[in-house]
Symmetry: C2
Subunit: 449 residues, 2 copies
Amino acid sequence: MSLASIQIKMIKRLLDTATDDKIAHALDKIHPSELSFLFSELNENQTRRLIDSLTLLAKAGQTLRELPDFLLPDVLEQISDKKFSDILLRMEPDDSLFLLQKTPEGRWPILLEALPELQRSRIEKLLIYPNNSAGSVMTSNYITVRSEMTAQEAVEHLRSHPEIKGAFYIYVVDDTNHLVGVQSLRQLVMAPLGTRIKDIMDRDARAVLATDDQEKVAQIVGQYNLLAIPVTNEQRELVGVITVDDVIDIVKEEATEDIYHLAGLSEADRAMTPVATKVKKRLPWMILNLITASLAATVVGFFLQSIEKFVALAVFLPIVAGVGGNGGMQSLTVITRSIALGELDFVKVHRAVLREIGNGMIVGAICGALMGLIGFLWKGNFYLGLILFLAMVCNVIMGALAGALFPIFFKFLKRDPAIGTSVLVTFFTDTFGFLSFLGLATFFLQYLG
Amino acid sequence: MSLASIQIKMIKRLLDTATDDKIAHALDKIHPSELSFLFSELNENQTRRLIDSLTLLAKAGQTLRELPDFLLPDVLEQISDKKFSDILLRMEPDDSLFLLQKTPEGRWPILLEALPELQRSRIEKLLIYPNNSAGSVMTSNYITVRSEMTAQEAVEHLRSHPEIKGAFYIYVVDDTNHLVGVQSLRQLVMAPLGTRIKDIMDRDARAVLATDDQEKVAQIVGQYNLLAIPVTNEQRELVGVITVDDVIDIVKEEATEDIYHLAGLSEADRAMTPVATKVKKRLPWMILNLITASLAATVVGFFLQSIEKFVALAVFLPIVAGVGGNGGMQSLTVITRSIALGELDFVKVHRAVLREIGNGMIVGAICGALMGLIGFLWKGNFYLGLILFLAMVCNVIMGALAGALFPIFFKFLKRDPAIGTSVLVTFFTDTFGFLSFLGLATFFLQYLG
């Protein structure tokens, strides 16, 4: 939900004329995620005043955190080092790191030096985790208790930490910070006051390692319907927590990756990515596509004599190849998505492949019949119709086969089933489409024309 | 996480030989989502025994709920009406409805009649909401309180409902069940015991209408980082709650839709969908693709004389069209995904289009140069190289233009920007690719060959 245009107009006028206090008052009731929509509408001066007012309200950090990736670097550039440090001062280490990563590394020392020692070291600790790992998305915004505490003591402990707002689970650790259990706030409230935490906590609570991939985290949180999951190191020491709102972001990101990989795109390539980055990311795939298309086209080169004798073949070439490629992309998409959603874990894989082939046979036969009819009617030549029918059936089946098998084979090799498979499928259906159609045409050449 | 194969073997042996009690004991510690992986491994007799044991453990319903859509109908068919009703008896109305919808409607009256009046009517009430609406995914598994209650009374009330496990928010309603506020369990625990709920509850809590689309629900829950959202009717009477675990499922479903639409697929088409359904869903798109490919190919028909004179043109035709189409699909994917994620709400749309065109110009020029070089080297003809260069540049730019503009135009018309746009983009790049390449070749024909 974004702000109404009348609200935006009003805020812009305030930013141009009113005092910081007055602006802050107007912005007080607006949610950070709604405020974030403002930035794309503002000039440099208005942006500065907005940041100033948000800093007064202590929600500058949250608001910046809600900005889309492509806007953030520009906005951060307009914030002075002093103001930026003030904002970081009130933010969680993981959110601070997120903002830092959107600024040039040269600026980090100045910003970090202005922070208190403890806060700085907590941010620096997060830097060791690789991108997209559990460690890189976890928060340190959680509450721990000891297993010997009573329910009442745990509740008291919760009360003494009003700043940890989303604490719907509390984490039970021993003297050396090893995770020994998880206690849901709901069960805590249910328990008689004198109950010991160790008697009600969940000892089998699932945890992930800080080095685990975020995709695995999302999968576990989704499968077990959790609201948060604790993150530990190899020694099972609690190092952080990942909450379900971050998991939603991860699920969206992973879906974007899947969609993008099928189209030969990199995750970093969004609508507002600078042209230079777009070119750098897309060019390799385009050139690969150019090469595979050229290789497939060499097949056409072998049959130039046939085309010379019956030039109408050139008209049908791209249709046979294209329809086969289209069918192949359908199979590829279904199988790739099934792998991503874990659906193929429930069945024998060959059954899914057989269904794709079955579909390819029927759809191929119908499209082939249609194509054959068009060819026959256009040129009044039965053999042209027959050739088109046969080539189309074969190529659509080949497409189904390639679309189903390549991602499964890639998965078997422990590679991403979406990366590169669409290029392979198209290469396959192009080559096989040209070969089957022109091969058949050459065989029946004396009956054509 | 699925079960290890040794566990599966052990459970299968138990199902064949042990008593229900013994089986139930072995299954007790296993999470429903892990149990669900068993079904694809079992024969009919084993399935029946598994269901019997799970019914003893009261987790038959949950386990069935975790099965993928394509397995559920077969498993439900093997459960007797009596047993099925017993399972429904312990399930929430929304989960019951979910299972019912996977069985033939003819079976519904028998199953529903066996349920108590109240439970039956609660399920029937859900039937009025359209598929994919908030009403169709909400749960009635929530706790309400009155705003005059004290914090202590509210906690007592929570304690008297141990069966509502995930109650991390409670909902504040008036005498006539109108939603007046939401109270987080975390804030409730923080409040002094005598505080009235009306003084601490969130009065501005976001709610959705039962008729709202589930996509909107997912968007709001994601934007405001909620764990649950109340659902009301038009009169603001509370009718249900949607929890964040369902939102994760919705996000995945919507992503699948986006991926599928770009490939001309229907959401109902999964790896294990029966062939007949696959054919029914895919054939229309394949035929549409056949028609547009044929229409594009008629352009080739206009230039048969040129091809007859210089037959090598047939080799390059599919390359120029294919590479342009590939670039177009990249732009289409980026813009479609940006629309789905709401990123384009932050910027002026024309800036995103300009960046796609900018990328198309540079990538087109590089691919064109490469293509031109290949053509020149192969035939030693400068003009062939020039024609290929020009046609490739034009077609890649056209692809970028079509890929960026069609989804934006569709969005403007309030249509899904992913449905049908890929067919349009390919039609565009095929037609324009043939036209530019063969047009230029005809113009320079005297210099070729």
